[in-house]
């Protein structure tokens, strides 16, 4: 009733909150297309100059390449580990199951700086040199919990009797996994790959600590912030990265929903009959 007339404090709070949260993000593309080297209002004119600068920066290209490799490998490894863990926790019960799962999920809430510092201390102790490989290791550590969370719901929704039926029809364990389990959890797997890829692509702290001489994209961006003239092109780069991340996350969410729908249908058909 009151909604149209009197201002609702909760609505005001919500709007203020959203502005606070997203205004800086909106500024990014705004200045990326702004025709001035100084980041300040008022905007002077429209240009795609900063994007062209990106095109001709070799250091950037190698950073993009490094990031792509790291994110790709991280996504594969994390999703593989996540699938194993999710399957184990949904199918088998073993001693201290809750405790072990809790420990695996811990990096989700651990401050990244702590993870990064402890990893670098450990690597130093082991006498290992820093490289993209160590970045991958760090990223796998923080991505695996996300992968487990996504894949757990995919595996939990999988009716165990489907796998038994396949086995009963003469198929091997591996064949059952390939012909029944994998197709049914595939949307979850893709969603996990996309999310891990995105997390790794955007991650800065661990990459900053653990990378050797090969900078990843966020590390490269950070290094460019020291040069005021580079700022607009950093904005342009940020804009591209933002669009890419949002796109990947939306795609991941679409796959996750598809997985739920597929299994929801399956679940309702087995439940509805009871």
């Amino acid at each position: 009733m009151k909604r149209g007339t009197a201002p609702n404090w909760l609505t005001i709070y919500a709007v203020a909150y959203m502005v606070f949260l997203y205004a800086p993000v909106v500024l990014l593309p705004l200045f990326a297309f702004n025709d001035a080297t100084i980041i300040a209002f008022p905007l002077s004119g429209f240009t795609t100059e900063w994007f062209k600068v990106l095109w001709s920066t070799d250091a950037l290209h190698s950073a993009v390449g490094n990031s792509a490799v790291v994110a790709f490998v991280t996504a594969l490894v994390s999703t593989f580990l996540g699938a194993c863990a999710a399957r184990a926790s949904s199918r088998y019960s073993f001693p201290a199951q809750k405790g072990i799962t809790g420990f695996i999920m811990l990096p989700l809430v651990l401050p990244e700086i702590i993870v990064a510092v402890s990893l670098i201390v450990m690597l130093m102790q082991l006498g290992l040199s820093l490289s993209l490989l160590t970045v991958v290791a760090g990223h796998v550590l923080i991505c695996t919990p996300f992968s487990i969370a996504i894949l757990s719901s995919a595996f939990a929704g999988l009716d165990q009797s489907l796998e038994e039926a396949s086995f009963d029809l003469g198929e091997s364990r591996w064949g059952t996994f390939r012909r029944v389990t994998l197709p049914l959890v595939m949307p979850g797997v893709i969603s996990s790959l996309l999310i891990c890829f995105t997390i790794s692509l955007d991650e800065f702290i661990i990459a900053f600590f653990l990378t050797g001489t090969d900078a990843t994209l966020p590390v490269y961006i950070w290094s460019q912030l020291r040069f005021p003239t580079k700022l607009p092109s950093v904005m342009a780069l940020g804009t591209i990265l933002l669009a890419l991340s949002v796109g990947l996350l939306l795609l991941a969410e679409w796959f996750r929903r598809r997985a739920v729908r597929r299994q929801g249908l399956d679940a309702s058909s087995s439940e509805g009959l009871l």
Partner: protein
């Protein structure tokens, strides 16, 4: 069912889950071509036994052999059995034809052969033309048929069915009971059916194993089970049984004479005493509701009669179930009477004569 070659032999099969004994030594021989049912209340271990025959779980002790071969260490995918799951377990990402052909593909059969076999199996379960449908485009009854076709197409020695009809509504269930039985007869494949529905087991089976708490209480034909239940528990699980106090009066050449509190003294031939039962141990006799008659007309006659009183009646259209109190009997007995034209329901409190025959009496320890 001309042959009586054993196809499945269960020898002292046991299964424990931790400290809990789900199966406490099952012994049974199931014959080739037989429709065999495992009947029992929820939690008695029917599914557990079926899953062990299928090979999903190993027995804790004992031996299961199929077609003369011990199945010890042989996994489900190498056993000559196929299962129809309670949830049907239709693969949701495959079409009906791919579901049915799933097992043939693992056998690496040529495509053309698979198609022919699948079409044959779909025809058997009356689903011609449904091959291209998705799993989610099927009704409950159709899913059930697909699950059955998927098992049939493998030509197994034994088909295992875990409550395959429990998800269907009454009418469809009656129809599927009939079709399943017909199919089994015409194919001659051994079926093992798990059910907790005694009516379903009686209608469909050649033989039934009644299970309670991980043990087989009685293994017999439906008729034997109904007419000669081995224990009071079996008797009340299969249909309705009236129990009357009784004890041995004397034994003679003619047979055993029992003193039944509500009915008086009666002499039964020795054949009426089940094997292994000591007549001195007899504590109860049982009589089915339809084996007792209310003698409404003064001219009605029966082998034996006793004077009684109507307590209440339940009208079921074709039948009326009367509660009748007999002399020297605490609980009233149930008597079912077919309703005939021109006979009204006896009112509560009215005196009646109850007729009964000696052959209908079952003895219990």
């Amino acid at each position: 069912m001309s042959t009586t070659k054993p196809i499945i032999e269960l020898r002292d099969v046991r299964k424990s889950f931790g400290a809990f004994e789900a199966l406490k030594g099952i012994n049974a021989v199931i014959n080739e071509g037989e429709f065999f049912s495992l009947l029992g209340p929820s939690g008695c271990g029917k599914t557990t036994l079926l899953r062990m025959i299928a090979g999903f779980e190993p027995p804790t002790a004992g031996d299961i052999s199929i077609d003369g071969k011990s199945m010890d260490g042989i996994a489900a995918n190498a056993r000559p059995t196929n299962m129809v799951f309670q949830s049907y377990a239709i693969f949701p990402h495959l079409s009906v034809a791919d579901n049915v052909g799933y097992g043939l593909k693992t056998k690496k059969l040529p495509k053309a052969d698979i198609k022919r076999e699948v079409d044959g199996a779909l025809a058997m379960v009356d689903l011609v033309g449904y091959g291209d449908r998705g799993a989610h485009e099927l009704s409950g009854g159709q899913r059930q048929r697909v699950a059955l076709a998927r098992a049939l197409v493998m030509r197994p020695k034994v088909i295992l069915l875990d409550e395959p009809l429990s998800a269907l509504d009454k009418k469809l269930r009656d129809q599927m009971q009939f079709e399943l039985r017909e199919l089994q007869k015409s194919l001659g494949i051994t079926f093992i059916l798990v059910t907790h529905d005694q009516e379903e087991a009686l209608i469909m089976s050649d033989r039934i194993a009644v299970m309670f708490e991980g043990e087989i209480a009685q293994l017999a034909t439906p008729e034997e089970l109904y007419r000669r239940p081995a224990t009071q528990r079996v008797a009340s699980f299969i249909g309705v049984m009236n129990f009357l106090e009784a004890k041995l009066e004397s034994s003679s050449d003619q047979g055993v004479t029992l003193d039944i509190a509500a009915l008086g003294n009666v002499t039964l031939p020795y054949q009426a005493v089940p094997q292994g039962m000591n007549p001195a141990q007899i504590a109860k006799v049982g009589i089915r509701p339809e084996m007792l008659t209310l003698l409404f007309d003064p001219t009605d006659k029966a082998e034996n009669e006793v004077q009684a009183e109507v307590v209440s009646s339940d009208y079921y259209g074709d039948m009326t179930y009367y509660s009748v109190s007999l002399p020297n009997q605490k609980d009233p007995v149930i008597i079912s009477m077919r309703n005939t034209a021109g006979r009204s329901i006896a009112a509560p409190g009215s005196p009646v004569r109850v007729g009964w025959g000696v052959e209908s009496v079952v003895l219990f320890e």
